[in-house]
Symmetry: C2
Subunit: 217 residues, 2 copies
């Protein structure tokens, strides 16, 4: 069984992802959550939980990561919380998770980034969105510089629409929407395909089945 630590499990992508992993024959999820009252959702799916605050110590994350085979970082303060949390969760929480992966010797790491985290995107972002883009930029940079088997997923504008199971994925795609449920399927496809190691790509809703799209990255 491949055991996957889902960091930010209580987020919407995280919940879809843990559900998919628990349905998978050869995978099991460990849901990293911040509050005990978030546990029941995952316990009902038969998933293990780990109670860890991303604003806490790296050691706490390392302990949660010690018995897993892969880590998915899908935590996010989101662009709607204050920029204080943006730097402490989206940047520093991501970096601490990367350092924990190294300390726990977990090589496989999948980062759910933002659609465009390039320097150009920071410069062109509105003043309210730029801090979020910058935080994700530096988190991605840290991961690229870490000696891990990473994949960076850059989703389009996230929606709560039902997943169609069909996407468009490439280094760059035209900006468009993507269902969070589709992103969870994309993560699963990445976990199943080591050819995605060392790669990053943008994803929007499209016409190609997820597995096929990810296999052709």
């Amino acid at each position: 069984m491949v055991k996957v630590l889902v960091v930010g499990a209580n987020g919407q992508i995280g919940k879809h992802l843990v559900t998919l992993i628990q349905d998978h024959e050869k995978m099991e999820a460990k849901a990293m959550i911040r509050k005990q009252e978030q546990a029941s959702f995952f316990e009902e799916l038969g998933a293990e939980t780990a109670l860890v605050d991303l604003e806490g110590e790296i050691d706490d994350i390392t302990k949660a990561a010690e018995d897993v085979d892969a880590i998915v970082f899908t935590a996010g303060s989101g662009p709607k919380t204050g920029p204080d949390k943006t730097i402490l969760i989206d940047l520093d929480g991501a970096v601490k998770t990367i350092e924990a992966a190294k300390a726990a010797n977990v090589k496989r790491f999948i980062m759910i980034s933002s659609y465009d985290t390039t320097r150009k995107a920071i410069q062109e972002a509105s003043s309210s969105f730029a801090p979020y883009v910058a935080a994700k930029h530096y988190a991605d940079e840290w991961l690229r510089g870490a000696d891990l088997d990473y994949t960076i997923v850059h989703p389009g504008a996230l929606t709560n629409d039902a997943g169609t199971g069909k996407i468009e994925a490439a280094a760059t795609v035209e900006p468009s929407e993507v269902a969070r449920e589709n992103i969870a399927q994309v993560i699963l496809a990445c976990l199943e395909n080591d050819a995605t190691i060392g790669k990053e790509f943008q994803v929007v809703n499209g016409d190609t089945p997820v597995k096929e799209a990810i296999d052709s990255i």
Copy 2:
């Protein structure tokens, strides 16, 4: 003449520093400022000015850096502005200045950091101060990883007291106050002493003349 680009010249340390540099026989300052109305202070000192917004493009900073021999980064939103500016100025503005230094082939770079920017300091900071410490942490990390002749100055609690010209400086010193005017003298002493390259130290007010303290780092 050693020409020094002072990034954040209009700040209080910046103004002291440009004044000291203009008084120095073998140095001249180029004050990087954000607004035209800030120029007169520096013009009266006989210093050149460059009008550049740190939230703008790296290229603009590179152009300002092209004819200088050293860069001092003393810009800062400070812990009192919103954390959106903390990430865009204290972190991203610093990184852009480092990248501009590389692009303009200016090797000497002096960073005015915060008293303690270690991982431990982020974890122990209050929730309102932690985003600032994290931003300075990543800016310092970026500089350490850049192939530049850097010095990182970690000042104690900054005050507007008159400079005494006497400090205590070491890898770690007991937390205490330090006059901004003393920090400006410390920067000048670093610019005059290449033995400070590749080093970083904390500084508070003390009993040792600045030049002597810096020479013994």
